[in-house]
Symmetry: C2
Subunit: 80 residues, 2 copies
DNA sequence: AAAATAATGCCGTTATAGCAGTAATTTATT
DNA sequence: AATAAATTACTGCTATAACGGCATTATTTT
């Protein structure tokens, strides 16, 4: 996934496009403003659930993929 | 993304398929075994970077998507 | 089936993520 | 261009994620 720097800019970009200040985003996401500050300053060490709250507000989805999951997906579709 | 329960089973499934014990996975991922134990027991509160280490070993990718990103992607491809 | 080996479960401790508050800086208003 | 308003930066504090160690349970070997 995104390196810390990328995550930082991803969040920042989405926040800016949404015309939100950090405090506003923090309030909407129901997290402290420090988290957003930290993330945007390249700190990769964020709780998954905290990040999720922020991503939800910004309409960003986390998708997990793997060869195994794709295989299972395919097998699922081939049944018949 | 996956709820905690789903993440738990996602990790467990991949670990099992890879024939790894928690301790082995922990060592490969260079994290404590407690983290894996916690995740597999449905604890959503995990550090992103810690989770990343585990997912790397299990060959699971985190992908972030959003309408905005897709728009930018499209605009990028339409240049010409 | 006993012994040995391995895996899982759980606990006390420690480092730190996330918190609210305040200072500094930037932007908007008159 | 002052003043006000808003945003960002930084700080000390607290709750807890992650750690290793030990106990328990499961699996394998003889």
């Amino acid at each position: 996934m995104a390196q810390s720097q990328e995550l930082a800019e991803l969040i920042r970009l989405h926040r800016k496009v949404a015309k939100l200040s950090r405090v506003q985003l923090a309030e909407l996401a129901e997290v402290g403003k420090t988290v957003i500050y930290n993330i945007e300053h390249g700190k990769e060490s964020v709780q998954l659930d905290t990040l999720q709250k922020i991503l939800n507000v910004l309409n960003i989805k986390i998708v997990l993929t793997s060869p195994l999951m794709e295989d299972l997906q395919n097998t699922e579709n081939e049944k018949g």
